[in-house]
Structures are given as C-alpha cells and as structure tokens.
C-alpha cells in the first residue's frame, strides 16, 4: 500500500492559516476565494491552525492507520481506500450520528455546512496534491 500523507515541519509553520482558507475554498461549491467567502452557508474548512506553547500546528485528519472514526462509524459511511490508505466519509451514506466526532482524538471531523453529515480532510480527492500543502508559503506542510 503506497500511502501518501501530509507531513508537517513543525518549525516552519508561521500560523498564517493560508491552509485553512485554501481548504475552505477547495471544499466550497465555487472553488474560488472571492465567491467562496460569500457562499451561504459558508464553506467548512477541514484544517485548523492551533498554537501550542511555542509552535503553530495545522491540525488536519491524519488518516490514521488504526482510525477510530472508521471503527466507530455505525452507518458504514467511513471507509478506508485500500490502495491509498485514505479514510473517506461517504456523505451519501453518513447519517449524522456524530459518533466519529465523539471518537476523533484530535478533533478533525466537522459537521458540514448543512448540519447533516460529518466531513473531514479527504486529501483533496480531486487534486494530486492537497491544497493545504500547495498553499503553504513556508512549505511547513509537505506531501509524500
């Protein structure tokens, strides 16, 4: 299984939150910044930059090897793509029971714009490289 993941060079993150915006825009319906911020409901980003005592950390789904959300999902909406290792939420199948939110230890699963289903990082399914990585001005995030 060739699993590409997003990695973080902790010392390079300056907390500019470019990844947050890029992510929100990528997951908006227009996929364009100026339209996205005027959408209703507003698009939901799936990465958040937080600060620890001395660092900034963009927190996003890690697509865990032992993904608690996958184990906890009652509806079968969460699955693991065997070839890429991605943990994916099928929004058609998700019934919004929020069990995945309850078990995600780093809080990277969000309630979607409509309040009906759970969403999270999909490693930008339509893109070769996730937009958070592309948008990072310091290359703190990288994909390999």
């Amino acid at each position: 299984m060739s699993m590409k993941k997003i990695y973080l060079n902790l010392h390079k993150c300056l907390g500019c939150k470019s990844c947050e915006i890029a992510c929100g825009v990528e997951h908006s319906s227009s996929k364009e910044l100026f339209s996205a911020i005027n959408e209703f409901p507003l698009p939901i980003k799936r990465v958040s930059v937080f600060s620890t005592v001395s660092h900034c950390i963009p927190v996003r789904c890690l697509h865990c090897e032992d993904a608690l959300c996958l184990f906890a999902c009652k509806s079968g909406a969460i699955s693991k793509d065997e070839s890429t290792g991605r943990i994916i939420i099928d929004s058609e199948k998700c019934i919004g029971c929020w069990t995945c939110i309850m078990v995600c230890p780093i809080g990277t699963i969000y309630i979607d714009e409509t309040g009906k289903t759970a969403v999270k990082c999909d490693l930008c399914a339509e893109k070769e490289i996730p937009v958070c990585v592309l948008s990072c001005p310091t290359s703190a995030l990288f994909y390999k």
Binding site: S18, E20, I21, V25, I37, P41, L42, P43, S135
Partner: protein
Amino acid sequence: MAHNNNFKNLSIDPTAVKMLKKAEKEEISIVWDRYENMKPQCRFGELGICCSICNMGPCRIKPLKDSAQKGICGADSDVIASRNLARRVAAGAAAHSDHGRDIAHTLLLAASGKASDYTTFDADKLISIAEELGIKCESLSINDIAANVAEIILGQFGSQSGEIIFAKRAPKKQIERWRSQGIMPRGIDREIVELLHRTHVGVDSDYKNIIYSGFKAAIADGWGGSMIATELSDILFGSPKPIRASANLGVLEEKMVNIIVHGHEPTLSAMVVKASKDEELNRLAKEKGAKGINVAGMCCTANEILMRQGLPVAGNFLQQELAVITGAVEVMVVDVQCIMPALSEIAKCYHTKLITTSDKAKFKDTEHISFDEENAIKTAKRIVKTAVENFQNRRKDLVNIPNEKMELVAGFTSENTFHFLGGRFRATYRPLNDAIISGRIRGVAGVVGCNNPKICHDYGHLTLVKELIRKDVLVIQTGCSAIASAKAGLLKPEAAFKYAGKGLREICEAVGIPPILHMGSCVDNSRILIACCEMVKEGGIGDDISQLPVAAAAPEAMSEKAVAISFYAVASGIFTVYSPQPNVLGSKNLLNLLCNELNKIFGASFAFEENPVKTAELIIDHIDSKRNALKLNPVMYEYEENIP
C-alpha cells in the same frame, strides 16, 4: 526558474521575453521569479482583512465559518479592510503630493535665483496660473511672478482651513457634492495626516466614514498635489507639445554610453539630459570609445522627459530590471517611487552603476549622489561623467540589446490636445464635444496605471485600449500604461488605420493624431481631470463630470498611488475599473460601498475586473448608458464583433 520557461505568459513585450531568457541563462532572479517564489500569496492579505496597525495585532478576520470575526480591538472586516485601503490612499496621495511639493520648491529656488540651472520658464503658463491664483502680474518680473506662484502653492500643503485652490477648477456640481459630503480638502498635508490619524487604532470605526476621509485625501492629491506637480513642471520645464520619439529597450545604443533615468520627478532628469549634451563629456565619451551619450527614461521619469524633450523611453515598470540585464547600461540614476529594491543586487551582476539621488530614497550598498536643486547641473554632470567612465567596464559578452523599438507621438496635454481637434487656430473643446454628440466618438476613456506581475506584462493595457479604440472610444493615457501603448505602436497616428473604429479613425485622420493620446506621467492624470472640466464647460454632454460619457481604468495597477488616483477619479465623477482588486473583497459592505453606494454620492463608482476584455465591456456599457442618459445620437458606426 519557477515559471517553467513559459515567458510568453509573463509578458507580451518581445523585449521582455528576450531579457527573461537572458536572465534565466545568467541565473539572475527577477520580478517574475520573486512573484513565483512569493506564491501562495496570503489570502487574508488578498482579501484585505488582516491588520497590523497596532501592537495587539497582527489580527485576521476569518472569512470562512469560524469564530474570529473581530480583531482584538473589535474591528470587523469592514473596518479593517477600509482602514487598509484608506492608508494606501494616504500613502499614494503623500507620494504624489510630495513630488508636487518638490517641484514647487524648485520653482521657488529658481525664481529667487538660487537654482540658477532652471531658467527657462514657460511664461504663458506661468502667467495664466498666476492670474488664476489672483496675482497681479502687470508690475512684476517673471521671476517675481514665479516666486509668488511658488509661495502660494507651497502654502497649499500646510493650509489648515478653507478649500484648496485647484479644487475650485472642478465643475460646480462636483464641488457641491464634495462640500455636502464634507470632503472638500482644506490643505493637502492636513487631509493626509488626518487620514492617518483616523486609521490609527481606536479612532474611526465606521468604514464609510473612513472611506470618505480617503476620498478627501485623494481629492487633495488629484486636485492638489498631483495637479501642482503637473502645472508647475509645465512652468519649470515647458508645457509639452506633440513630439516624436521612440520606445522600448531597443532605444539603448550598443555603441554609446547609456544612461537610464528612472523614477518620477523631472527636476533631476531634465538636468541629466542637459548634461549629456555637454561637449566636454561627449569628448570624454569618445575618448573612452563610445560614439556619444544616450539618455533614456524608465517609468514616469521617462514620461516627463519624453513629453517635453522627446527623449527615448526604455520601458515601463516591469522592464527596469530588464534594462540592466541588457548589459549595456552604464548608469541607472534614480530618484523616487517605483524603483525596485532589487535593482541594487541586479546591477552588481553587470558593470551597471545604480546611483540614488534623493535623500528620501537611498539603497543599501549603493552609490548615493545627493541631488540638490541649487547645484543641479553640476550634480548631473558628475553623474554623466560616472557613466562615461564606466563605459570601458562594460562586459561585451554580457551585452544583448533587443532591437525592438517603436516610433510614437507623445506630448498631449489638456490644453493642446483638443486644439488639434478644432484645428490649430480654434482652441476649443467644441469639436471634441461635437464628435461625441454626433456619435463619431463614443466617449473618452483614461487608461492609466502601473504594471503588475499578477497580470501578463502590458497585456492588460493593450487588450483594453485596443478594444476601446476599436469601439470608437478616444483613449487618453499616462504613466506605465502609456508606455505599454507606445511600445506596441499604438501612439503612432497610423495606428488609427489599423486599430481604431471608423468614427475615431475619421477624427484621427482629419486631425492627424493617434487614436491614443499620451498625456504624461502619473501625476499628469490631473490633465485628465482638467480635460473633463473643459468638456463640461464646453457644454452639451453634461454639466457634471459624472454625466460625461467618460470612464477610467487601471488594468495592471500596482502602487498605492494608483489607489489614490482611482479614488480621486471616482470622487470626480469618473467610473473607474481597477485591477487587480486592491484587497477589498473581504468586506462585503466595503465592496458594496465602492461598487454601488458611491454612485449616489459622486455619480460614479468602482468596478473590479481583471479580464481586460470584460473591463472594456464595462466601460462601453457605462459610456453607452451615459450617452443614453444625455439622449445623444446613437454611435455613428457599429463596430465589428471579431477584429483580429
């Protein structure tokens, strides 16, 4: 290099593409590389919703679903975006106005005999301005008149009350709008200072009030500082007259000592031109193996010496590094504004000496020859001599001057331009107004502003102006925008045959002018305001600038000055399309104010559009709506939809 060799996406100027290739070969990183390296650019900044005005910050408003909707002080996206924008206006107005102040100061020194190198006043213009200022000229010498003018004008900067003098040139309705809105400037410096005060943390927290204050400072620029710079430069250096010249990097001469004057103020450049004609220096040049001394301009300095002396133009803003990269520039002498800090590093890759001259603008590790008006020609000669002596250091293997250069006609002003339309002996705007009324000309558009690597170099300008003249809009240009047209051959009278619509072509043919008129540097946008006043005065196409079938655009805007210009254009009733958007899209309310609500106040508003074809459509629609409102005849000739 980051841009994958696809230079044609970066510039439509063939000289730029050639120099980009040369730069790549020589591993020199230039503006487009730095732009690539800067990507991704901060989207908060792009939206205008980050604030670092105070020390509690930096703050950012989160434009997506999130909790941080207010800065630490409580400023929301409206306040933050409007403060940021207003501060740009302040800086832009400050730059223009300080330029104007320097010219006024030079005039005063010259008049009192302290700057004896500036002697040839344009007496007609001097007297007409003096009379406008209420000076009784009969009993005074030219020098005394000049001194009086200079003093009154210098007083405009520090004036604390009343109304700035040149603003009263505006049509009545504009003045009424400004007065009723409380934005008639009292003094130039005062409005800029007050704007900076208002945008200090915890002062003005009403985005509309902040923006109106921005308009006040901008009016103090367009109808103050900039207009002063234009008018007094005309007095000091002579009013421009139509003049032939050439433009693009091809104006550099392989066998001559090349000096590029770059920046904005004509005070120095005019003296360098003078010094370059000095016999002794030319003899020295020949001794050093050169055929002579060639002075060419860059950016608005180029426009100043082009308009008045017909000197060649090397290029516009994005070509300043490329000029050095030709390897054939002995000295690049700079004063203020739009001079890339990168030049000092790039000059070191060649024999080129970068010389700074303004004490306001020094570069690290760069030779500084402080320029003062009292020793103008002496300083200029020293600079020219440095260039001549540097000729022998030129590295032949690194020299590659693109051969492209283009003929052009420049030197139009609000006073002389439309004299042409009326024939040489009828100095009136009547023929222009008549041409508009009859529908031969659809309207007039000012296309101005900078270059910006976010937009393919010159593409925005050229696409827009070609669209406009094709649809019978007479285009007037200044600054780097005019240089773009010059390089593309659009400032030749013959361009009318190739590019202009039928109606505009008829006018150009009859009068012998190009379809696009070059009116000078960026402070000379004030000439466009005066032209609008004259059109109103002439009558028949509206008694308020906002009723005229006119519009403006800055398709590749870059500097804070461009923001200030767009502000005074809109405040003066001119619909203005600005691109790229000046970081205002993060505030819906601000955007609505700028693009809609201002119509109620000024009769004009902004539009933000990056696509120059769409910009042309917006301008055509606007002009047509103004024509409809004035119940003018339909435009005489339909334009063809798809012109090559």
